[in-house]
Amino acid sequence: MRTRDLTGDTAEMVRTPTTERPPVRQATKMQVNDLAVWYGETQALHGVSMDVLENEVTALIGPSGCGKSTFLRCLNRMNDLIQGVRIEGEVTFDGDNIYAPHVDVVELRAHIGMVFQKPNPFPKSIYENIAYAPKILGQVRKRTDMDELVEHSLKRAGLWDEVKDRLEMPGLSLSGGQQQRLCIARAIAVSPSVLLMDEPCSALDPVATATVEQLIDELKDNYTIVIVTHNLQQAARVAGYTAFFHLGDIVEFSDTDSLFTHPREKKTEDYITGRYG
């Protein structure tokens, strides 16, 4: 059958009765309201708002310096680590504001995992890479449970068959694509519900990229994924929803099909067709 139609666009529903399916509206997993970010004197985000839908891949695209990475890093408060940063507005996770004073950042990050641009496995064994976070968070104590969790995470990341015979090898001995999948396995080992990905494929070759994209596609059934990408095609391929950022604002946010076939905004059209700047 066709991919699900998420738009609930009535006009389209009339034209395509054979693929009839009630318009699926997922629950909102995270909600960003009027988020503004300053780095010192420069404002990186100008009060943006956006909903992140559950079990869906949301892509953030836009030219360099448009604020998409800043936005992503606000979702698990990674920006807190930067000096001189000031954040205003609200980001809710299952309805709770993650910037509320009682929220513990360490706890939050266990629920909202992150995968980075450059694969950054810990300089430890493959096993240790996965086991580290559950261990320090006290989620898993018995060795047998840990073995199970490591296997489960690696399987889910589609890496198990490639590494099951060499779990004691350093994570850095893997290829770039495998390292990135190891990082994804590491992130899902603590069973987060949201996965943030900051250009996860930009350091990978096309084959590894395709593997990671396929993985993202499989993961979306269980996780809510937000991905920043410089590669427009990647956004088109993996995301159900796409937001176009420009100069610290969200210019357009809609389902990927519409954004890439008939964007509402001229700026979006210019950007995705390569007429930008």
């Binding site: 990674m78 000096q83 980075f116 641009q117 810990f122 320090i136 590491r186 080992a189 603590v190």
Partner: protein, 389 residues
């Protein structure tokens, strides 16, 4: 008509090539010059010092009995007596004490010759007292004179008898000093560096601290000696000349080196490792302990070893706290008077006897070897654990 492109070098290009060749020649020249100095230094040291590693020995019968225990000079024959180092006779009671079975026996042994004899035989001095020359020639004819390894150089302490002078007490002193420096400057230095690099906010205060630490590394070492004298000895009452006083003083000197190298090692750990750890919910301290430190460790150790090597080779601050002195016995504890290798070399260099010249050179060779071993360890550590991120 368009001009054909010529691929043969133009005049301008040839000029550029010539300039390049000239520049290369300067660099090679500088390298050759530096190498030449080094080779010159080493050959000179080896030429002067190699003879201190072996000594003239004389085969003689040694009688151990009640009399010779009291009048030790009677233990050997009259002809041999003037040739043998006095240190041997002093050691007879101790030999018997260690090995009572010697009593009442006569042993044929190779005995260390007097320094004068040694120097004469090695050709370092032209003349020899006729009193010694005659029996020496007699013994040589009998084949009772030979060369042996100079164990004393390594296993005996300093001595005013040149044939008996050795580096042992300096070795022990150096070892104690190293322990003290390591125990003090390593934890303090690493902890300081971790705080500054990983935790401290970037403000005026930390910047000032940073600048001061960098300046500290450039302070002349003699000033550290003054500081040590004033603070550790006069104020805290640490015993003079002790390895503790020396170690504390040299720690002050080593600290900035360790702090700077540790900070460099921490800086070299890519940020994405920290972010990766924090993104899975590690706290700052867990991030540093589990990920950053293991990665930075080779760099930290390298810096520490180099800092300690520097401390081992240091003499000037020790002058002021009385570690440059005649210390014949190895120190038994950190608070005993001690000396160190460079101080021993310094002491020997000031001695008038001819044999001390080669001893000095030999000491330098030993010190250099020790430093080379330490630095090589640092290099090996670095290469072995260096990771590509």
């Amino acid at each position: 008509m368009t001009d054909r492109i010529s691929l043969t070098p133009s005049r301008h290009l040839k000029k550029r090539y010539r300039a390049e060749k000239r520049f290369k020649a300067y660099c090679v020249g500088a390298l050759v010059l530096a190498m030449a100095f080094l080779v010159l230094f080493f050959t000179d040291m080896i030429r002067q010092g190699y003879s201190a590693f072996y000594e003239t020995q004389i085969r003689a019968e040694v009688t151990y009995n009640e009399d010779t225990l009291e009048f030790t000079m009677d233990s050997v024959s009259e002809e041999v007596f003037p040739l043998v180092s006095r240190a041997f006779f002093r050691s007879i009671p101790r030999q018997v004490e260690n090995n009572p079975e010697l009593m009442g026996t006569t042993q044929t042994q190779w005995l260390t010759a007097k320094a004068d004899v040694d120097q004469y035989r090695k050709g370092h001095s032209e003349s020899l007292d006729p009193e010694m020359k005659a029996p020496l020639e007699q013994l040589q004819a009998d084949g009772d004179v030979g060369y042996g390894f100079n164990k004393g150089l390594f296993f005996s302490g300093d001595s005013k008898i040149p044939s008996n002078a050795g580096l042992w007490s300096a070795f022990v002193g150096t070892f104690y000093l190293m322990l003290v420096v390591l125990a003090i400057s390593f934890p303090i230095g690493v902890a300081t560096a971790i705080y500054l690099e990983e935790f401290a906010p970037d403000n005026r205060f930390t910047q000032a601290v940073e600048i001061n630490i960098n300046n500290l590394a450039a302070v002349p070492s003699i000033l550290f000696g003054l500081l040590g004298l004033a603070i550790f000895i006069n104020f805290f009452g640490v015993p003079r000349s002790s390895a503790l006083a020396g170690g504390l003083t040299l720690s002050l000197m080593t600290l900035p080196v360790i702090i700077i190298s540790t900070r460099a090692a921490l800086k070299a750990v890519p940020d994405n490792i920290r972010q990766g750890a924090q993104a899975v919910g590690a706290s700052r301290w867990q991030t540093v302990r589990d990920h950053v430190l293991p990665l930075a460790l080779p760099g930290i150790l390298t810096g520490t070893i180099i800092g300690i090597a520097q401390a081992i080779g240091e003499t000037a601050p020790l002058l002021l706290i009385g570690m440059i002195a005649y210390i014949p016995d190895a120190p038994g504890s950190l608070t005993d008077a001690a000396t160190v290798l460079p101080a021993q070399i310094f002491t020997w260099a000031g001695m008038p006897e001819r044999s001390y010249v080669s001893l000095t050179a030999a000491g330098i060779l030993v010190l250099l070897s020790l430093l080379i071993v330490l630095n090589a360890t640092a290099v090996i550590l670095r290469n072995r654990f260096e990771r590509r991120w």
